[in-house]
Symmetry: C2
Subunit: 364 residues, 2 copies
């Protein structure tokens, strides 16, 4: 069972950490303990994942003083209130600064648990065990943690790196199709922003991914994590290049916040947002019609939405986009594609042009 | 007016920052702007300080797009709820990652504002303008930010460094005597933990400090900040030596939480806690009776309390101390004095010995 574990390293000096990718990692009793700092361990998971995998994890952690927090499942619960619940549980258990927090779940659990770890006693060690494709290829790696605010997605949070990321591909067996597609949205993103060969590979292998072919999933996860790790190593706190990871996210976050958290999965909103960003790139003269169509087609083949929600009016879009983290003063800034495999740092876009994309694209 | 500004530097590589100390800094129009990142500026202050100094600050910031948040004054308001209020105000104003947050107030405002800055959009620049002696000599320097939890003092927070600290000694003119004494508690602390000459200077000059002699205050603030800056530069995240800054704080935090936040000022609780730590050091054989008396006498001369609150039972003390950040697993760890001017890293102390100090000292 130990035979086929791949290990990547996110290089961040003293805060470097390994990303393990393999099958049945949740049955590896010797992998986790080396990243645990003391007897005190708390696991954060949700009501969907707990019945499936919590017992497995508990078996590995049998020798520790263990607390478990089981939160409701969904983006709408990614709030400060639930993070406060984690803090209260930590204090009730008298856990101190050497306690280790383990997240077992998708992006919501990873983001919330990571933020709870970042701020409990000003920071305790934590370990990510992502259980959705989206979390495995994107959110569990790189140290972005946080919660949503009613006025904006991921507006409250911290850059806080885990001690290790354990990606057990076997858990994807229980992932539903909608969640699988949502994860593929972020996989496609890596191809678009900096890895044209990978984009072509996804075009050729999309059906294998949708069929949960383990070899294809393993390759896609590893290649995605490699891309992510390289970018984060270069620019941990997003003062430059890391921003390209947010391709489509400025639109996507507006969709998530505007439609109500949980209505669209994050990956679904990103799929739509990336199509909008591609359309905007076309209007700016970077992409031709054929390339935009090629991008949209791949998202459609991945069974992802590509059209803006009818209910989200253009003015509301613009209002929501005006609080994006990449903006400077009053300007809205968006990541643009120069070609497939090459994204541009956020650039200021005029409201007039944004309106053209938002109105025009809705009609496709 | 520019004549007498002293500048210390906290050396933290790319996150190094200056500490300015001088009179009438709040009238220096050219000092602040170099640390402000964009047009968006938000000032966090309280109902006591706003009527005294907010207009002065607004005058310096006249050319910016300015928001002000005025919070109630007191340790009992150092809660996540008020930090959430700051975040909501930032989002309502559509402030982005380049916005600059300025704290104008004592330790509570600095800690809360710093934490709000640390987590808003995963971190925006902030500047500390401390207005109490305690904040000027201690809490504004070193990047410890956070809020209290009903179950423990400063339990939620972040290490997050400001871009600059502006210490305007002139504002101490309006500080009341109780707050002045509370600040002196932390000044005495620096002497005790690593600066025996400074301790002797305080013994000789305590009346000048209590009389707000500007020269004496200036010296005490500078020497305190120098000690703090040296320790923080060596150990930013308190993995070692920085813990000695918490001399007396394990007891002190128990007093603040146990008696209800705001009943004792932080500096008052630290004064009592330091006397308890001195007594414990005596019981461990490090200090003799005479030295303990010398320490207690200085706190008394500074008009600070030195006896445990009668209402706080020994068992409650122990319960509250069991969630201290310096603990490892179930052990309570306390900073001990080896002599005046030399503190020891936190050591495990038996419950029996702690009880002796807590019961015994109460009787003095």
């Amino acid at each position: 069972m130990m035979s086929n574990i791949k290990q990547l390293q996110l290089e961040l000096g003293t805060r470097s950490y390994p990303i393990f990718i393999g099958s049945n990692l949740l049955s590896q009793i010797d992998l986790l303990p080396q990243y645990i700092a003391s007897q005190q361990v708390i696991v954060i998971t949700n009501t969907t994942i707990a019945p499936l995998y919590l017992e497995k994890l508990k078996k590995i952690l049998a020798s520790y003083s263990l607390e478990c927090v089981i939160l409701p499942d969904g983006e709408q619960y990614k709030t400060l209130n639930y993070v406060e619940k984690i803090w209260t549980d930590l204090l009730d258990a008298k856990f101190n600064r050497k306690a280790t927090l383990i997240t077992l779940g998708g992006g919501v659990i990873g983001d919330m648990g990571g933020f709870a770890a970042a701020c409990y006693q000003r920071g305790i060690p934590f370990i990510q065990i992502p259980t959705t494709l989206l979390a495995q290829v994107d959110s569990s790696v790189g140290g972005k943690t946080g919660v949503n605010h009613v006025l904006g997605k991921n507006m409250i949070g911290a850059f806080y790196q885990p001690k290790a990321v354990l990606i057990d591909i076997s858990v994807l067996k229980t992932l539903n199709d909608r969640q699988l597609s949502a994860g593929i949205a972020e996989v496609i993103k890596y191809g678009l922003i900096r890895d044209p060969e990978f984009f072509e590979w996804i075009e050729k292998n999309i059906e294998r991914l949708l069929a949960k072919d383990e070899e294809a999933l393993s390759f896609a996860i590893e290649r995605s994590c490699l891309n992510k790790a390289e970018i984060v190593a270069e620019d941990e706190h997003e003062s430059g290049i890391r921003a390209i990871l947010n391709l489509g996210h400025t639109f996507g976050h507006a969709i998530e916040t505007g439609m109500g958290y949980g209505v669209y999965l994050h990956g679904e909103a990103v799929a739509i947002g990336t199509c909008l960003a591609a359309d905007l790139s076309r209007r700016l003269g970077y992409l031709n019609d054929e390339t935009v169509l090629r991008i949209i087609t791949l998202f459609q083949r991945a069974k992802l939405p590509t059209l803006s929600p009818e209910k989200l009016a253009t003015d509301r879009y613009l209002e929501l986009m005006s609080v994006d983290k990449k903006n400077i003063d009053d300007d809205i800034r968006v990541i643009i594609l120069k070609k497939i495999g090459k994204a541009n740092l956020p650039i200021k876009v005029t409201t007039a042009l944004l309106k053209e994309t938002l109105n025009g694209y809705r009609g496709v």
